[in-house]
Symmetry: C2
Subunit: 246 residues, 2 copies
């Protein structure tokens, strides 16, 4: 698994398709990941059709990878299959609640990451789209996801046609805590974020956006309070609509 | 990454400790996983101390792995460090909301699974404890997790002292959908669950619990409606308490 050390998010893909047999093998292997009660509370919708990609695109803010990648995978928290199984077997399923959503989302995300690690080992390039949680309803509509199925992750997958630089990471002490959580002091924060703040690309970002600090890029532009609060409402509405908050 | 094909959940560990340098290397490598805006919205609390393990144990229904494993990792959704950074940099952080929780939980779970893949490649044995979401508050208390930090996964980690049989998996067609979600018919359900229902261990489970079907083991004993609904309330209360539903 040495590729984890050199992995980068890939947004540009060559014209080469992904063989169905390869994709199936990777999905089957990823399903060896542990899940709750071995119930595999997830589903994957595979999008190859150009029109279907175009339908998904606005939900992902028209990021070009969605229409350009040969394969788009939408990974869903899925308690529907298990619920259908129970109903076919004289059992009373009680999975239309928030805990069950989070259990299924957990299964789906762990499966997703094993898939990522396997696909990157295979030489494929991936982009993980965080936008899935921003506008779930149009994704639900485009993929015809029924009750108790909720999209939690999207991957665009293809053969890489770029090699962007390796991105920075926080030092280990910033995110690993011994025995109890140690709240960082202002001096700790300075040390943890020094490398990120010193990167020329980030300094340029601050300049062209006429901001004073890099943190303001995140709070004022990329992930604002206003957007987060509005999208939280949208997200909770979609969860309710899919039956996970009854 | 061939170990994914032969991995099993390991609940019994040899007396051998895990070298701090090995654990640090695996955590550092796992942090190569993609995260939202490269913000790494997670923290890991490492528990080695016997008293601290004993304090965590009841939150995990006293499953023996928690006190027997040399290392327990509690992986948390963490928007606190990013919030502290913003506050130190004249920025206005707006991450005390549900979307931000789910974004941070996503980062935490993807990181967790890369750690699992790496640790299993190294020969370590893991047990993923789903109980973390059942009783988050005692874990929050034991590890002194502050506002905007929320435990989403626990791993017990050690060198394996058992080799349990490989567990079953659903066929690919049960969880992979082409282009749109195909709702399974009763005949599909029969086919998807045939192998699981035929396993001798599962049939024995049904017999000793005096149930009629395997699905009833899940709905009546392991994951009941009553528990799921009560624990959903507990979970939402804990999220509110940690500042993610304001």
């Amino acid at each position: 698994m040495n590729t984890i050390l050199s992995r980068r998010t890939i947004r540009q893909y060559s014209g080469r398709d992904i063989e169905p047999a390869l994709l199936e093998r990777l999905l089957r292997q990823a399903a060896r990941t542990q899940t709750m009660g071995n119930l595999q509370l997830y589903s994957v919708v595979v999008t190859r059709d150009a029109q279907r990609k175009a339908a998904l695109s606005p939900a992902h803010f028209n990021q070009p990878m969605v229409v350009q990648a040969p394969v788009v995978l939408t990974i869903c928290a899925d308690f529907r299959r298990t619920t259908s199984w129970a109903l076919c077997r004289k059992a009373d399923p009680g999975y239309d609640n928030f805990l069950s959503f989070l259990n299924a989302a957990t299964d789906a995300l762990l499966f997703t990451q094993t898939f990522c690690n396997l696909a990157e080992e295979e030489g494929l390039g991936l982009c993980y789209l965080g936008t899935t949680l921003y506008q779930p309803q149009p994704i639900i509509d485009a993929l015809q996801l029924p009750r108790l199925v909720f999209p939690v992750a999207t991957l665009t997958v293809g053969w890489p046609a770029e090699e962007p630089p390796l991105s920075d990471r926080l030092p280990l002490e910033a995110f690993v805590h011994d025995e109890t959580y140690k709240d960082p002091s202002p001096a700790d924060i300075d040390r943890f974020y020094a490398e990120k703040e010193a990167l020329e690309a980030n300094r340029e970002f601050v300049r062209i956006n006429k901001k004073e600090t890099l943190a303001q890029i995140f709070t004022d532009i990329r992930y604002t309070r206003k957007d987060n609060e509005a999208l939280s409402t949208t997200l909770l509405d979609a969860l309710r609509h899919q039956g996970f908050l009854s």
